[in-house]
Every structure is written in C-alpha cells, then in structure tokens.
Symmetry: C2
Subunit: 290 residues, 2 copies
C-alpha cells in the first residue's frame, strides 16, 4: 500500500500539524503531547477529551470544536496515547467543573487513561469517565476485555458535547454518555487489510475474494472469514447482528452512521447507507434526523 508521507515515524505528528494549520483560527496545538484543543476553550463548562490510537481518522483528532470535544490527544498509529499525553491534556483543560474522559474500550487505552486520571485527581482535578464499547462483533478480542469501542464514540461525543455546552454537570454527563453508549451498536467488515505507515506492509493477509466479518479496527479477527458477498447481503448480516443485540424494535427512532474509517470511497458508503435505510424501513425503525 502506497502512501503520501515523509518519514513514516513522523506520520501522526505531520497529520496533526496539517489539521492545525487548516484550522489555526480555531485550534491550538501542543506538539510534544499530540494535543489539539479549542483556542476558545471555555472555563465555565465541563471539558471533554478523547484520544486513542491514530490511523482511524477522522476519529477524535478531527472532532475538536464547540459542541464536540474540547481537546484530543492521540497516540501513534494503533497505539494508545502515552499516559503523559492524557495527563498533560487533562491539566490543560482542567477547570472547576471538571474534565470528562471518553475512552474507547481497548486494554492499552484503559491503562493509560486510568493512570492519567489518578495523577490528575492527585492534583485535585475532578475527572469523570465514560467507556465506549459499541462493537457487537465479538465478546472479547485480541486487545480487549469486553467489547471493542469503535465508531459509536461519535454519538457519545455529540451527545455529551452538546449537553456540556448547555451547562450540564460532570456527573450528569457521565450518566448521559453511558446512556448513549448503552443504546449504540456497531459492526465492521473488511475487504482488505490496512498498512500502518511505519510498518509499511499489511497487518493481515486476506484473499482476493474474501472478507473478514466483524473485523477489529487494528486488524483483530472478527466472527469469521468468508467469500465476499453483495453489499445487500453484507448489510443484511451487519444489520441483523446489531438489531438483535440491543434488541431494537419496530417504532424505535434511530440514528444511522455508515463509515469507512478513512479507507472506503464515499460512493460505496452511500450505497451501503441505501441498503441500511431500506432494512430500517423494513423493520419499522424510524431514522431520526433531529
């Protein structure tokens, strides 16, 4: 897999610099700790931050702004942010109303954020935590005890981000984040592997006619590998797994997100959305816009 890059070891730093330069009127950048934060950082609301491994963009690093995250502090590609990134970012955001940590459920992330939280609390900073684990594919995974946290985090970010702007306090934001996570479900399918820049080769091999159903976002195995199916059949399987897991029921109002974590053309994502919308309609789910 070819890439547009300079030194592969600087890939994440240079990506963040690009985001910063494209938004330097709205963001500030702390290169030592991969921190991007709002230049209009409010001090009278709970501050919200996230940051997991890079390589899943837009992920968190492109979600910093009013009504979303106040800051993000990603680690390297597929690596949790080191504890000091999280600790420094927490200190930067700290105010009397507290700081909310949003954490996608991977062991590496849990460890970094747990330790950073302890350090911050020792400094007298009030910290709340929401763990996100939306992926229904597998119960445990290579890097996870319990379910993985994947794109469901966008719904949590949006909900707590909006509520924080409206003055909601830390405890209530934690409850809201847990509520949103509790009704969010996702599942992924991969047609190809990805190639981290510093590795330069695919992280797993997959046949030209195969797909991995329920793949993890770092290439972790999913439910099974099989021959590629049509978009309609793929959506049927993913939709059913999600629908039955909560379970959802006819008449429910739902929000639907189809995403490619950066690698799938938007044309294909809309085609998949069309199939998902038809499945919702068939089951009596109402796709809510606002």
């Amino acid at each position: 897999m070819k890439k547009f890059l300079n030194d592969p070891n600087n890939f994440v730093k240079e990506m963040i610099e690009g985001i910063y330069l494209a938004n330097s009127d709205k963001l500030k950048w702390v290169p030592e700790y991969n921190i991007l934060y709002r230049s209009d950082l409010p001090k009278d609301k709970v501050a919200i931050m996230q940051g997991s491994g890079s390589g899943h963009e837009p992920a968190h690093i492109m979600c910093v702004g009013k009504g979303f995250l106040d800051a993000a502090c990603p680690g390297n590609v597929f690596a949790a942010p080191p504890m000091d990134y999280v600790y420094e970012c927490t200190k930067l955001l700290a105010n009397e109303r507290g700081v909310l940590h949003l954490i996608n459920n991977y062991q590496g992330d849990r460890m970094s954020w747990d330790m950073a939280k302890e350090l911050a609390e020792a400094d007298g900073i009030k910290v709340g935590v929401v763990i996100i684990d939306d992926d229904v594919s597998v119960k445990n995974s290579t890097y996870t005890v319990g379910r993985r946290g994947v794109a469901g985090n966008f719904f949590v970010i949006k909900a707590v981000g909006a509520a924080a702007e409206n003055g909601v306090d830390l405890d209530a934001l934690v409850a809201l984040g847990e509520k949103v996570n509790g009704v969010t479900r996702s599942m992924g399918v991969a047609l190809t592997s990805c190639t981290p820049p510093a590795k330069g080769s695919p992280i797993f091999e997959i046949g030209d006619d195969e797909m991995e159903v329920g793949v993890g976002i770092h290439g972790e195995p999913g439910r099974r590998r099989e021959k590629i199916k049509s978009a309609k059949e793929i959506v049927e399987e993913v939709f059913t797994a999600i629908y039955e897991d909560l379970p959802f029921a006819g008449g429910d109002r739902v929000a639907v997100m189809v995403n490619g974590l950066g690698g799938t053309p938007i044309s294909e994502l809309y085609l998949l959305y069309g199939e998902a919308a038809k499945k919702c309609s068939e089951k009596g789910l109402v796709i809510a816009k606002n």
Copy 2:
C-alpha cells in the same frame, strides 16, 4: 480492487439512491435521469446544475443544496451524462431567470451539454454556460481539447451558488464563474490506478514504487511517471506548477483545497495540506478563510 456493491451495472443508481435516502428531507430524486434536486427549489433565482461522469465523488452529486447546486445529473462511472439527462434536468429547473450549466472540460461532457442546451433553448429556456478547466498538468489530454476540468469546479460552484442566492442574474453569474475559473489552478498525482465497478480491473498499470504526476481523473497520462517521492517533494512539484502557471504572487489571498477524489485517507490529505500551507507561507501567499 474489492468493492462494496451489488450488480456493478447498478452502482451509480444505487449510490444516488443512498444519497437520496440519507437526505430525503432536502432532496428529490428522478431515477430515470440520475437527477437529484433541491426539494425547496426556488423559482425566483437562476438555477444552477452540473453533472459529469460518476466515480469522482463527492463531485457534483453530493453538492446539491442551498448556496451550491440546485441539481446534479451525473452519467455512469467515467461517462458523461447522456444528453437527455441534461435536457430533462434543465427543463425541471427552468424558470424565467434562466439556468446555468457548469461543465468540466471533457469532450464527452461538452457534446452532451451543447446538444441539451440547444434543445432547451428551442423550448425557450434561457441557458448560460461556464466551462471549467483548472488542471495545469497537460495542455491537451486523451479525452480533452484544452485543459481538463477537475476539482476547481468546487470553487466555481460555491461562488455562483452563493451569488445566485443573492439574486445575481444569469449573465453576471456566467461572468463570475469565468472569473473564478480563471484564477483557479489544480494538479493531481496518482499512486495507484482506480477500478471502475463494471470493469472490475484497474484502468492502468503502475509499479509498486511508481507514481503518475499530473494524472487525469480517468487515468489519462500526466506529465510523466517516476519513482514515488516524499509528500514534501510531491507538494513542492505540484505547488510550483500551480504557482507559476497563473502566476500567483506574494501577498495574494488564496483558497487551498487538497482532495483525494474519494480514494486517499483523510490523514494523508491533512499531511499534504500541512506541506501546502508551508509552501504558501514561504511564498507569501495568505490562505484566506472568509
């Protein structure tokens, strides 16, 4: 190249259906002619439409809305819209203030839109035309007499779209569109070929260590093929070709767009933006935000 699709021959139709279903509160869809149009179509402003081959999304089909296009009518993947798509779309939009056709400069598109314009004018519809030809890579190309029209069309769409909302008349919109096109320059680089769904195989072969500099968006040859360079070197070449072509000069206010036509991860695009922003700074160009 694997894809999420059903019958490859229905790829474009199903993609458009997905866009429609995701925005059915704002758009209407005419499947026979691949037309998406604003459901709140104003009758008291000039109507604006575009539509070229599909496969370059977001392209035009994802730019329909207030302040942008009133409608789009794309053809199949890498195929101009048939004349009747353009004609039917023009009739649908027609009002007393006229209809503006935006056309990216490819021979197939020129022919369809020319004929459709004649038919519409015979019906008494006032039609204005802006031809977009922003790509500095080559003078003529496989499917083009003169320069190609590529992503520069977004700047034209935005400018005439906003002006039309403010009541500007057809002649002035044509002049504005030509002015914006006249100061817009672009150039592309490809690391890999693309694979149209119905073809199922790459449209050109390229070595694992090669890139095509100045590639066309349907795989047309560019200036030359060479070994892959760093992102910094690639931006240096593209920037210099664009900068010297107008020519731009220190102190100019510019808008910068880096795009991957659907195939390049957003992380790499931001890394490239960072390099482009530094080149602008070095040359004294001011990146204007508003």
